[in-house]
Symmetry: C2
Subunit: 235 residues, 2 copies
Protein backbone atom coordinates (compact mmCIF):
# COMPACT_ATOMS: atom_id res chain seq x y z
CA UNK A 1 0.00 0.00 0.00
CA UNK A 2 0.99 3.61 -0.48
CA UNK A 3 -0.01 7.02 0.88
CA UNK A 4 -0.08 10.48 -0.66
CA UNK A 5 2.23 12.76 1.32
CA UNK A 6 2.47 16.52 0.81
CA UNK A 7 5.47 16.99 3.10
CA UNK A 8 7.38 15.50 6.01
CA UNK A 9 9.30 18.02 8.09
CA UNK A 10 10.82 18.74 11.44
CA UNK A 11 11.77 18.40 14.17
CA UNK A 12 10.21 21.70 15.06
CA UNK A 13 7.66 22.55 17.73
CA UNK A 14 3.94 22.05 17.51
CA UNK A 15 2.63 25.56 16.98
CA UNK A 16 -0.96 25.25 18.18
CA UNK A 17 -3.47 23.48 20.36
CA UNK A 18 -3.09 21.07 23.22
CA UNK A 19 0.47 20.04 22.32
CA UNK A 20 1.68 23.59 21.69
CA UNK A 21 5.44 23.81 22.18
CA UNK A 22 6.01 20.05 21.90
CA UNK A 23 8.96 18.98 19.70
CA UNK A 24 7.34 17.31 16.73
CA UNK A 25 7.95 15.85 13.30
CA UNK A 26 5.04 16.50 10.97
CA UNK A 27 3.68 14.15 8.34
CA UNK A 28 1.38 16.24 6.20
CA UNK A 29 -0.93 14.06 4.14
CA UNK A 30 -2.03 15.14 0.67
CA UNK A 31 -5.72 15.35 -0.09
CA UNK A 32 -8.81 16.65 1.66
CA UNK A 33 -12.56 16.18 1.56
CA UNK A 34 -13.04 19.85 2.54
CA UNK A 35 -12.35 23.11 0.74
CA UNK A 36 -12.24 25.68 3.55
CA UNK A 37 -12.39 29.20 2.17
CA UNK A 38 -9.45 30.27 4.29
CA UNK A 39 -7.41 27.06 4.13
CA UNK A 40 -3.80 27.73 5.15
CA UNK A 41 -2.47 24.54 3.54
CA UNK A 42 -3.86 24.48 -0.01
CA UNK A 43 -0.66 22.75 -1.12
CA UNK A 44 -1.86 19.72 0.87
CA UNK A 45 -5.50 19.99 -0.19
CA UNK A 46 -5.96 21.13 -3.73
CA UNK A 47 -5.50 18.56 -6.48
CA UNK A 48 -3.72 21.27 -8.45
CA UNK A 49 -0.75 20.52 -6.17
CA UNK A 50 -1.04 16.78 -6.58
CA UNK A 51 2.08 16.60 -8.72
CA UNK A 52 4.05 17.87 -5.69
CA UNK A 53 2.83 15.06 -3.45
CA UNK A 54 4.87 11.92 -3.01
CA UNK A 55 3.39 8.46 -3.16
CA UNK A 56 5.15 6.64 -0.36
CA UNK A 57 5.00 3.30 1.38
CA UNK A 58 4.63 3.30 5.19
CA UNK A 59 8.21 2.03 5.42
CA UNK A 60 9.50 4.94 3.33
CA UNK A 61 7.50 7.43 5.40
CA UNK A 62 8.82 5.94 8.58
CA UNK A 63 12.41 5.94 7.34
CA UNK A 64 12.15 9.68 6.72
CA UNK A 65 10.69 10.42 10.16
CA UNK A 66 13.42 8.34 11.75
CA UNK A 67 16.10 10.13 9.76
CA UNK A 68 14.76 13.60 10.62
CA UNK A 69 14.54 12.75 14.33
CA UNK A 70 17.90 10.98 14.46
CA UNK A 71 16.12 7.87 15.68
CA UNK A 72 15.19 9.63 18.92
CA UNK A 73 11.54 9.11 19.85
CA UNK A 74 9.37 12.21 19.84
CA UNK A 75 5.84 13.18 18.92
CA UNK A 76 4.83 12.67 15.30
CA UNK A 77 1.88 14.75 14.16
CA UNK A 78 -0.16 13.45 11.25
CA UNK A 79 -1.93 16.36 9.63
CA UNK A 80 -3.02 17.44 6.18
CA UNK A 81 -5.20 18.02 4.28
CA UNK A 82 -7.34 15.48 6.03
CA UNK A 83 -5.16 12.52 7.00
CA UNK A 84 -8.25 10.48 7.85
CA UNK A 85 -9.06 9.87 4.21
CA UNK A 86 -6.02 7.57 4.11
CA UNK A 87 -4.89 4.63 6.22
CA UNK A 88 -2.06 5.63 8.56
CA UNK A 89 -2.32 2.51 10.72
CA UNK A 90 0.88 0.95 9.31
CA UNK A 91 2.91 4.14 9.86
CA UNK A 92 1.70 4.41 13.45
CA UNK A 93 2.52 0.75 14.07
CA UNK A 94 6.08 1.23 12.80
CA UNK A 95 6.60 4.30 14.97
CA UNK A 96 5.07 2.95 18.14
CA UNK A 97 7.35 -0.07 17.92
CA UNK A 98 10.24 2.38 18.31
CA UNK A 99 8.70 4.39 21.14
CA UNK A 100 7.43 7.36 19.13
CA UNK A 101 4.17 9.05 20.09
CA UNK A 102 1.48 10.02 17.61
CA UNK A 103 -0.96 12.87 17.30
CA UNK A 104 -3.43 13.38 14.48
CA UNK A 105 -5.29 16.46 13.44
CA UNK A 106 -8.49 16.12 11.45
CA UNK A 107 -11.78 17.95 11.00
CA UNK A 108 -13.70 14.88 12.11
CA UNK A 109 -15.44 14.10 8.84
CA UNK A 110 -14.08 10.55 8.51
CA UNK A 111 -13.67 8.09 11.41
CA UNK A 112 -10.82 5.62 11.36
CA UNK A 113 -10.09 2.58 13.56
CA UNK A 114 -6.47 3.74 13.83
CA UNK A 115 -7.58 6.79 15.83
CA UNK A 116 -7.57 4.40 18.81
CA UNK A 117 -3.81 3.86 18.32
CA UNK A 118 -2.99 7.55 18.71
CA UNK A 119 -1.76 9.32 21.82
CA UNK A 120 -3.63 12.51 20.92
CA UNK A 121 -6.52 13.16 18.55
CA UNK A 122 -7.34 16.77 17.71
CA UNK A 123 -10.77 17.21 16.17
CA UNK A 124 -11.17 20.57 14.44
CA UNK A 125 -14.73 21.05 13.26
CA UNK A 126 -14.81 23.92 10.79
CA UNK A 127 -16.84 27.01 11.70
CA UNK A 128 -19.27 28.87 9.39
CA UNK A 129 -16.55 31.12 7.95
CA UNK A 130 -14.98 28.05 6.33
CA UNK A 131 -17.98 27.62 4.03
CA UNK A 132 -18.15 23.93 4.99
CA UNK A 133 -20.99 22.02 6.58
CA UNK A 134 -20.07 19.81 9.52
CA UNK A 135 -21.51 16.30 9.43
CA UNK A 136 -21.97 15.76 13.16
CA UNK A 137 -22.78 12.10 12.70
CA UNK A 138 -19.28 11.58 11.30
CA UNK A 139 -17.82 13.73 14.06
CA UNK A 140 -19.53 11.55 16.67
CA UNK A 141 -18.19 8.47 14.92
CA UNK A 142 -14.68 9.90 15.29
CA UNK A 143 -15.29 10.39 19.00
CA UNK A 144 -16.66 6.87 19.36
CA UNK A 145 -13.57 5.45 17.68
CA UNK A 146 -11.35 6.84 20.44
CA UNK A 147 -13.08 5.21 23.39
CA UNK A 148 -10.45 4.21 25.90
CA UNK A 149 -7.76 5.42 23.56
CA UNK A 150 -6.06 8.74 23.00
CA UNK A 151 -6.41 12.07 24.70
CA UNK A 152 -9.08 13.69 22.50
CA UNK A 153 -9.58 17.43 22.26
CA UNK A 154 -11.48 19.87 20.12
CA UNK A 155 -9.92 22.87 18.40
CA UNK A 156 -11.94 25.56 16.67
CA UNK A 157 -10.59 28.37 14.52
CA UNK A 158 -12.42 31.67 15.03
CA UNK A 159 -12.52 34.32 12.33
CA UNK A 160 -15.51 36.40 13.43
CA UNK A 161 -18.43 36.80 15.82
CA UNK A 162 -20.47 34.19 13.96
CA UNK A 163 -17.71 31.63 14.40
CA UNK A 164 -17.46 32.53 18.05
CA UNK A 165 -21.19 32.03 18.68
CA UNK A 166 -21.00 28.74 16.78
CA UNK A 167 -18.10 27.57 18.94
CA UNK A 168 -20.07 28.27 22.09
CA UNK A 169 -22.97 26.23 20.79
CA UNK A 170 -20.71 23.35 19.74
CA UNK A 171 -18.99 23.47 23.11
CA UNK A 172 -22.34 22.94 24.85
CA UNK A 173 -22.91 19.79 22.83
CA UNK A 174 -19.52 18.38 23.78
CA UNK A 175 -19.02 19.52 27.35
CA UNK A 176 -16.47 16.85 28.15
CA UNK A 177 -14.11 17.59 25.26
CA UNK A 178 -11.28 19.96 26.23
CA UNK A 179 -11.66 22.96 23.96
CA UNK A 180 -9.01 25.13 22.29
CA UNK A 181 -9.79 28.26 20.30
CA UNK A 182 -7.40 29.98 17.94
CA UNK A 183 -7.82 33.15 15.92
CA UNK A 184 -8.12 32.62 12.20
CA UNK A 185 -5.19 33.67 10.06
CA UNK A 186 -6.23 35.52 6.90
CA UNK A 187 -2.60 35.99 5.85
CA UNK A 188 -1.78 32.71 4.15
CA UNK A 189 0.51 33.71 1.28
CA UNK A 190 3.90 32.10 2.02
CA UNK A 191 5.56 34.86 -0.02
CA UNK A 192 4.22 37.72 2.11
CA UNK A 193 5.72 38.34 5.58
CA UNK A 194 3.16 38.08 8.36
CA UNK A 195 2.22 41.29 10.13
CA UNK A 196 3.13 40.33 13.72
CA UNK A 197 1.27 43.25 15.21
CA UNK A 198 -1.89 42.23 13.36
CA UNK A 199 -1.47 38.60 14.41
CA UNK A 200 -1.07 39.68 18.04
CA UNK A 201 -4.17 41.87 17.69
CA UNK A 202 -6.23 38.92 16.45
CA UNK A 203 -5.18 36.94 19.50
CA UNK A 204 -6.05 39.87 21.75
CA UNK A 205 -9.46 40.13 20.07
CA UNK A 206 -10.22 36.48 20.78
CA UNK A 207 -8.97 36.70 24.37
CA UNK A 208 -11.29 39.68 24.87
CA UNK A 209 -14.21 37.78 23.37
CA UNK A 210 -13.72 34.84 25.72
CA UNK A 211 -13.02 36.75 28.89
CA UNK A 212 -15.58 39.43 28.06
CA UNK A 213 -18.25 36.75 27.74
CA UNK A 214 -17.22 35.26 31.07
CA UNK A 215 -16.77 32.00 29.19
CA UNK A 216 -13.84 30.41 30.93
CA UNK A 217 -13.94 26.96 29.42
CA UNK A 218 -11.78 27.25 26.28
CA UNK A 219 -8.07 27.78 26.18
CA UNK A 220 -7.11 30.50 23.71
CA UNK A 221 -3.89 30.02 21.77
CA UNK A 222 -2.22 31.50 18.71
CA UNK A 223 -0.35 29.70 15.95
CA UNK A 224 3.20 30.05 17.26
CA UNK A 225 4.74 28.91 13.99
CA UNK A 226 3.04 31.82 12.21
CA UNK A 227 4.44 34.25 14.78
CA UNK A 228 7.95 32.83 14.34
CA UNK A 229 8.10 31.83 10.70
CA UNK A 230 5.12 33.49 9.02
CA UNK A 231 3.59 31.16 6.48
CA UNK A 232 6.87 29.59 5.43
CA UNK A 233 6.53 25.89 4.75
CA UNK A 234 8.53 23.12 6.37
CA UNK A 235 8.85 24.64 9.83
CA UNK B 1 -4.23 37.23 59.21
CA UNK B 2 -3.28 39.38 56.21
CA UNK B 3 -1.25 38.99 53.04
CA UNK B 4 0.82 41.43 51.00
CA UNK B 5 -0.63 41.66 47.51
CA UNK B 6 1.04 43.51 44.62
CA UNK B 7 -1.91 43.17 42.25
CA UNK B 8 -5.02 41.14 41.46
CA UNK B 9 -6.06 41.21 37.82
CA UNK B 10 -7.95 39.41 35.12
CA UNK B 11 -9.64 37.51 33.77
CA UNK B 12 -7.05 37.22 31.03
CA UNK B 13 -5.26 34.17 29.71
CA UNK B 14 -2.29 32.48 31.27
CA UNK B 15 0.57 33.52 29.01
CA UNK B 16 3.12 30.81 29.65
CA UNK B 17 3.84 27.25 30.70
CA UNK B 18 1.62 24.25 31.12
CA UNK B 19 -1.61 26.24 31.42
CA UNK B 20 -0.84 28.56 28.51
CA UNK B 21 -4.03 29.97 27.04
CA UNK B 22 -6.17 29.14 30.09
CA UNK B 23 -8.55 31.89 31.27
CA UNK B 24 -7.13 33.00 34.58
CA UNK B 25 -7.35 35.57 37.34
CA UNK B 26 -3.95 36.37 38.80
CA UNK B 27 -3.14 37.07 42.42
CA UNK B 28 0.34 38.52 42.44
CA UNK B 29 1.85 38.36 45.89
CA UNK B 30 4.23 41.07 47.07
CA UNK B 31 7.67 40.10 48.31
CA UNK B 32 10.38 37.71 47.20
CA UNK B 33 13.36 35.90 48.69
CA UNK B 34 15.19 36.17 45.33
CA UNK B 35 16.60 39.11 43.38
CA UNK B 36 16.91 37.76 39.83
CA UNK B 37 19.02 40.04 37.70
CA UNK B 38 16.44 40.03 34.91
CA UNK B 39 13.29 39.98 37.08
CA UNK B 40 10.27 41.02 35.01
CA UNK B 41 8.13 41.81 38.06
CA UNK B 42 10.25 44.07 40.28
CA UNK B 43 7.06 45.82 41.37
CA UNK B 44 6.15 42.59 43.18
CA UNK B 45 9.64 41.90 44.49
CA UNK B 46 11.53 44.98 45.47
CA UNK B 47 10.72 46.56 48.84
CA UNK B 48 11.00 49.92 47.11
CA UNK B 49 7.52 49.15 45.75
CA UNK B 50 6.17 48.04 49.09
CA UNK B 51 4.03 51.14 49.46
CA UNK B 52 2.12 50.01 46.35
CA UNK B 53 1.25 46.64 47.87
CA UNK B 54 -2.03 46.12 49.64
CA UNK B 55 -2.33 44.35 52.95
CA UNK B 56 -5.43 42.22 52.54
CA UNK B 57 -7.32 39.56 54.43
CA UNK B 58 -8.06 36.28 52.62
CA UNK B 59 -11.73 37.29 52.54
CA UNK B 60 -10.91 40.61 50.85
CA UNK B 61 -8.66 38.87 48.33
CA UNK B 62 -11.33 36.35 47.58
CA UNK B 63 -14.02 39.00 47.21
CA UNK B 64 -11.91 40.70 44.54
CA UNK B 65 -11.30 37.48 42.60
CA UNK B 66 -15.00 36.70 42.74
CA UNK B 67 -15.88 40.18 41.53
CA UNK B 68 -13.40 40.08 38.64
CA UNK B 69 -14.63 36.67 37.52
CA UNK B 70 -18.30 37.47 37.97
CA UNK B 71 -18.58 34.57 40.39
CA UNK B 72 -17.89 32.10 37.57
CA UNK B 73 -15.28 29.49 38.54
CA UNK B 74 -12.03 29.60 36.61
CA UNK B 75 -8.35 29.08 37.27
CA UNK B 76 -6.72 31.40 39.79
CA UNK B 77 -2.96 31.71 39.48
CA UNK B 78 -1.03 32.69 42.58
CA UNK B 79 2.25 34.23 41.51
CA UNK B 80 4.61 36.93 42.69
CA UNK B 81 7.24 37.69 43.78
CA UNK B 82 7.41 34.38 45.56
CA UNK B 83 3.95 33.56 46.89
CA UNK B 84 5.39 30.74 48.97
CA UNK B 85 6.80 33.13 51.54
CA UNK B 86 3.22 33.79 52.62
CA UNK B 87 0.32 31.55 53.64
CA UNK B 88 -2.26 31.28 50.87
CA UNK B 89 -4.07 28.31 52.39
CA UNK B 90 -7.11 30.38 53.49
CA UNK B 91 -7.51 31.97 50.05
CA UNK B 92 -7.36 28.58 48.35
CA UNK B 93 -9.90 27.16 50.79
CA UNK B 94 -12.34 29.99 50.06
CA UNK B 95 -11.98 29.54 46.29
CA UNK B 96 -12.17 25.77 46.23
CA UNK B 97 -15.42 25.93 48.17
CA UNK B 98 -16.85 27.79 45.17
CA UNK B 99 -15.40 25.49 42.52
CA UNK B 100 -12.42 27.59 41.45
CA UNK B 101 -9.15 25.90 40.50
CA UNK B 102 -5.75 27.04 41.71
CA UNK B 103 -2.29 27.18 40.22
CA UNK B 104 0.81 28.53 41.91
CA UNK B 105 4.08 29.61 40.42
CA UNK B 106 7.18 29.66 42.61
CA UNK B 107 10.91 29.17 42.26
CA UNK B 108 10.83 26.29 44.74
CA UNK B 109 12.85 27.91 47.51
CA UNK B 110 10.15 27.55 50.19
CA UNK B 111 7.88 24.51 50.64
CA UNK B 112 4.36 24.98 51.89
CA UNK B 113 1.74 22.47 53.05
CA UNK B 114 -0.86 24.30 50.95
CA UNK B 115 0.92 23.22 47.77
CA UNK B 116 -1.01 19.96 48.22
CA UNK B 117 -4.30 21.88 47.86
CA UNK B 118 -3.40 23.24 44.42
CA UNK B 119 -4.48 21.89 41.06
CA UNK B 120 -1.21 22.88 39.42
CA UNK B 121 2.18 23.73 40.89
CA UNK B 122 4.76 25.30 38.60
CA UNK B 123 8.29 25.14 39.97
CA UNK B 124 10.65 27.56 38.21
CA UNK B 125 14.20 27.05 39.40
CA UNK B 126 16.25 30.05 38.33
CA UNK B 127 19.14 29.46 35.90
CA UNK B 128 22.67 30.88 36.22
CA UNK B 129 21.81 34.10 34.36
CA UNK B 130 19.54 35.06 37.26
CA UNK B 131 22.51 35.42 39.60
CA UNK B 132 20.70 33.27 42.18
CA UNK B 133 21.78 29.98 43.72
CA UNK B 134 19.19 27.24 43.78
CA UNK B 135 18.82 25.41 47.09
CA UNK B 136 17.92 21.97 45.78
CA UNK B 137 17.05 20.68 49.22
CA UNK B 138 14.24 23.25 49.39
CA UNK B 139 13.24 22.42 45.83
CA UNK B 140 12.97 18.75 46.76
CA UNK B 141 10.90 19.70 49.80
CA UNK B 142 8.48 21.51 47.46
CA UNK B 143 8.20 18.37 45.36
CA UNK B 144 7.66 16.22 48.43
CA UNK B 145 4.86 18.49 49.58
CA UNK B 146 2.86 17.75 46.44
CA UNK B 147 2.76 13.97 46.75
CA UNK B 148 -0.63 12.77 45.58
CA UNK B 149 -1.69 16.35 45.02
CA UNK B 150 -1.45 18.75 42.11
CA UNK B 151 -0.11 18.37 38.64
CA UNK B 152 3.49 19.51 39.17
CA UNK B 153 5.70 20.78 36.38
CA UNK B 154 9.03 22.52 35.98
CA UNK B 155 9.56 25.69 33.97
CA UNK B 156 12.97 27.14 33.21
CA UNK B 157 13.72 30.49 31.63
CA UNK B 158 16.62 30.39 29.18
CA UNK B 159 18.67 33.47 28.40
CA UNK B 160 21.83 31.93 26.98
CA UNK B 161 23.83 28.79 26.26
CA UNK B 162 24.87 28.47 29.90
CA UNK B 163 21.25 28.47 31.02
CA UNK B 164 20.44 25.90 28.35
CA UNK B 165 23.19 23.52 29.48
CA UNK B 166 22.05 24.00 33.07
CA UNK B 167 18.46 23.15 32.14
CA UNK B 168 19.58 19.93 30.50
CA UNK B 169 21.45 18.94 33.62
CA UNK B 170 18.52 19.83 35.89
CA UNK B 171 16.20 17.89 33.62
CA UNK B 172 18.30 14.77 34.09
CA UNK B 173 17.91 15.06 37.84
CA UNK B 174 14.13 15.34 37.59
CA UNK B 175 13.25 13.04 34.70
CA UNK B 176 9.63 12.63 35.78
CA UNK B 177 8.77 16.33 35.98
CA UNK B 178 7.20 17.65 32.78
CA UNK B 179 9.52 20.39 31.56
CA UNK B 180 8.74 23.73 29.92
CA UNK B 181 11.38 26.10 28.58
CA UNK B 182 10.80 29.71 27.70
CA UNK B 183 13.16 32.28 26.25
CA UNK B 184 14.21 35.01 28.64
CA UNK B 185 12.80 38.46 28.06
CA UNK B 186 15.41 41.21 28.44
CA UNK B 187 12.83 43.89 27.58
CA UNK B 188 11.12 44.52 30.90
CA UNK B 189 10.43 48.26 30.90
CA UNK B 190 6.62 48.63 30.90
CA UNK B 191 7.06 52.03 29.22
CA UNK B 192 8.91 50.68 26.17
CA UNK B 193 6.97 48.75 23.50
CA UNK B 194 8.25 45.22 23.02
CA UNK B 195 10.01 44.46 19.75
CA UNK B 196 7.82 41.62 18.49
CA UNK B 197 10.31 40.56 15.86
CA UNK B 198 13.04 40.27 18.50
CA UNK B 199 10.72 38.33 20.82
CA UNK B 200 9.88 35.94 17.98
CA UNK B 201 13.59 35.57 17.23
CA UNK B 202 14.32 34.62 20.83
CA UNK B 203 11.69 31.89 20.62
CA UNK B 204 13.14 30.70 17.34
CA UNK B 205 16.61 30.59 18.91
CA UNK B 206 15.37 28.38 21.74
CA UNK B 207 13.42 26.09 19.40
CA UNK B 208 16.61 25.68 17.34
CA UNK B 209 18.63 24.89 20.47
CA UNK B 210 16.21 22.17 21.55
CA UNK B 211 15.61 20.57 18.17
CA UNK B 212 19.25 21.01 17.11
CA UNK B 213 20.36 19.11 20.21
CA UNK B 214 17.88 16.34 19.45
CA UNK B 215 16.54 16.95 22.95
CA UNK B 216 12.85 16.31 22.55
CA UNK B 217 11.77 16.30 26.18
CA UNK B 218 10.95 19.94 26.92
CA UNK B 219 8.09 21.91 25.52
CA UNK B 220 9.20 25.32 24.28
CA UNK B 221 6.79 28.21 24.76
CA UNK B 222 6.90 32.00 24.64
CA UNK B 223 5.27 34.48 26.99
CA UNK B 224 2.07 35.15 25.06
CA UNK B 225 1.14 38.12 27.22
CA UNK B 226 4.40 39.81 26.21
CA UNK B 227 3.62 39.21 22.53
CA UNK B 228 0.14 40.67 22.93
CA UNK B 229 0.55 43.38 25.55
CA UNK B 230 4.29 43.96 25.88
CA UNK B 231 5.23 44.52 29.49
CA UNK B 232 2.03 46.32 30.38
CA UNK B 233 0.80 45.44 33.85
CA UNK B 234 -2.59 44.04 34.74
CA UNK B 235 -3.13 41.89 31.65
Amino acid sequence: MTLRIAEIFGPTIQGEGVLIGEPTVFIRAGGCDYRCLWCDSPHAVDSAFRHEWRVMTPAAIWAEVRRLSGGRPLTVSISGGNPAIQDFAPVIALGKAEGYRFACETQGSVARPWFADLDTLVLSPKPPSSGQDVDWRSFDACLASTEGGPQTVMKIVIFDDTDFAWARSVSEHYPRLPLFLQPGNPEVDPEVPVDLRAAASRLEWLIDKVTGAGWFRPRVLPQLHVLVWGNKRGV
